[in-house]
């Protein structure tokens, strides 16, 4: 899968052990508690490369995502607030003690 290999930064000839080593290296760089979005992408890419048929079966024939929820999307929206069109003063107002 092109996307999965790109996500893990691998070329087409990577062996299963190289794929696993790269996955573990990336997980160390992007642990789920600090970088959950990136971790989820890395994990999904690894699963896709580890068992492409099963991963494709799930992708094509299961309507309900297994690893997602409305709350998870809402939480990711909040993580992206700082990437949105924020006004300077609203950001700086966060300096006030709660």
């Amino acid at each position: 899968m092109t996307g999965a290999r790109e996500t893990l930064g691998l070329d087409g000839g990577a062996s299963p052990s190289e794929i696993r080593d790269r996955f573990l290296e990336l997980v160390r760089q992007h642990p789920p508690d600090r970088d959950p979005e990136r971790f989820a992408a890395i994990h999904a890419a690894y699963k896709a490369l580890e068992d492409p048929t099963s991963s494709l079966q799930t992708l094509l024939f299961e309507l309900e995502p297994r690893d997602d929820s409305w709350d998870a999307v809402a939480a990711d929206v909040r993580k992206r607030i700082v990437r949105g069109r924020l006004e300077l003063q609203s950001l700086l107002d966060l300096a006030d003690p709660e």
Partner: protein, 502 residues
């Protein structure tokens, strides 16, 4: 008795603080202090003046907040009640002179320098208000920092960081360089670099306070933050307070309230699409399962109308750009439009041809799986569909010759049909892919025994026994076949050969 009363009163005050009812807590704490005169009760009063003033500031009631800090200054601040939050608040409310006097009293020249830094930070945060007290040099640097941060927020990160190059590292405001670098990193999704820069901030400074709140917003641990503040920021970032709306449509999906859900989803898509298209796709993906279940209970016309209304507002999935896959699922339900389902999977094969997401090998495997799905659709129709199913399975195997489930399905159909020649050919192809496939070997044993050919049956049984050497069922089966061979005099030679092989 007095101690016990004081403890009870203290607990009551702490309970009110925990609920954010600072005004009542302050009143109670003052009564308790008047009664006991204890140092602990005094500290509690000082702390509550600060908490109440902060609360008023957050509500935008600055005059009332000033009144509260003036009352605190009149009450007196002890060393135990002096904190970085209080320094910050006093300068914020225009009481910098009094703050400096107290800071010098508690920490001498160091305290005074500390107030300089607080005033400099305020010149960044609120130059026309509390920041006016900062020195001319600090005010100039603060203007630069604000301009840089505004550029970063306007998606001009290079210009923003460039503006800060002139800010010397020995400036009290150099701290904001780390803040700006972290902000740039976070906006481009590099959390590691953001953490590295923000990890260098002084926790008592304004930039660090902002970072702590951003972490709270992002769901990491941090200081509590009013939902109204987060809603306000979401409003700016996306044009609407959308995380609540997202949770809301989750509830609507559970309650099968599609008349309300569909327009809300449309609003969310408009808000998210420009900056976070992938999130729109996740919303679609989450809604598809409940939608398919929902339309299964409707008559065909209403089901069609609901799906079309949904499709009109939702962002299609990258793997299903024309909704053919979803329509196939919809018509695979109780509406039992098997021919419709098959037609949509057929259209979906064309969509897969254009899917940029897959490399050629993955695309072939995806198409093979869809052909297999179509075959299952024909099989569900029964009758003449069996030949169509076999045709689809043939196409599937052309695309993915090693896909065992497809081989197995084809084999079981041919075995049920009793089509000996095609069965043997299909079994042979399967064994080319998986030579030790026990079920296929045993199917061939059955096939040759039914044809009265114990020789080839024994060959396949022996292959099966090599994969399961101690399986008693296979040992017994071998005995039966050996007997068949011996009972057939014209095949005695074959039996001898078979014994030699075993």
């Amino acid at each position: 008795m007095i101690d016990s009363a004081s403890e009870r009163s203290g607990s009551e005050v702490e309970r009110l603080i925990a609920k954010g009812r600072y005004k009542e807590a302050l009143k109670q704490a003052k009564i308790a202090h008047k009664r006991s005169g204890s140092a602990a009760d005094r500290l509690r009063v000082e702390r509550l003046y600060g908490l109440r003033a902060g609360q008023l500031v957050r509500s935008g009631m600055l005059d009332s907040a000033r009144e509260v800090v003036d009352n605190l200054l009149a009450f007196g601040v002890t060393a135990g009640g002096w904190s970085t939050d209080l320094e910050w608040l006093l300068v914020r409310l225009g009481r910098g002179r009094q703050a400096r006097r107290l800071a010098v009293g508690f920490a001498g020249a160091e305290g005074s320098a500390r107030i300089d830094v607080v005033e400099a930070d305020w010149s960044v945060v609120d130059p026309s208000g509390a920041g006016q007290a900062a020195s001319g040099e600090a005010a100039g640097q603060a203007r630069l920092i604000r301009e840089a941060l505004a550029a970063i927020l306007a998606d001009e990160p290079e210009r923003g960081l460039d503006l800060l190059r002139g800010l010397m590292w020995n400036s009290p405001l150099a701290e904001w360089k780390f803040f700006a670098r972290g902000l740039v990193a976070l906006r481009r999704g590099d959390q590691t670099s953001a953490d590295a820069n923000w990890g260098r901030l002084d926790p008592s400074r304004a930039a660090s306070r902002i970072v702590a709140k951003l972490r709270t917003i992002a769901g990491a641990s941090g200081p509590p933050l009013a939902e109204s503040v987060i809603d306000h920021l979401e409003q700016q970032a996306f044009g609407a307070p959308i995380s609540d709306q997202i949770r809301g449509i989750g509830t609507l999906a559970l309650a099968d309230q599609w008349a309300e859900l569909i327009p809300t989803l449309g609003q969310l898509r408009r808000a998210l699409e420009p900056t976070a298209g992938a999130l729109c796709e996740r919303l679609t993906a989450l809604a598809l399962g409940p939608l398919a279940r929902s339309v299964a209970g409707l008559d065909r016309a209403r089901a069609l109308a609901r799906v079309e209304a949904f499709i009109a507002v939702a962002r299609p999935l990258a793997i299903d750009p024309h909704w053919n896959r979803f329509w196939a699922f919809v018509w695979d339900g109780p509406h039992a439009q098997k021919t419709g389902t098959i037609a949509y999977w057929g259209h979906y094969l064309e969509d897969l041809d254009a899917a940029a997401r897959f490399d050629p090998a993955t695309r072939d495997l995806a198409k093979a799986l869809v052909w297999q799905r179509i075959a299952q659709g024909f099989l569900a129709g029964g009758g003449q569909g069996v030949e169509a199913a076999l045709d689809c399975l043939g196409k599937s195997l052309q695309l993915a010759p090693d896909h065992l489930p497809c081989h197995r399905l084809r084999l079981s159909i041919l075995e049920d049909l009793g089509d000996g020649a095609r069965f043997a050919e299909a079994a042979g192809r399967l064994l080319d892919v998986a030579p030790n496939d026990l079920e296929t070997l045993l199917a061939l044993v059955r096939y040759y025994r039914a044809r009265g050919e114990p020789g080839p049956a024994l060959d396949h049984l022996l292959a099966a026994r090599r994969t399961r050497p101690i399986d008693r069922r296979l040992v017994e089966l071998e005995d039966e076949i050996q007997l068949e061979l011996e009972l057939a005099p014209d095949r005695a030679t074959l039996a001898g050969q078979a014994r030699g092989r075993s």
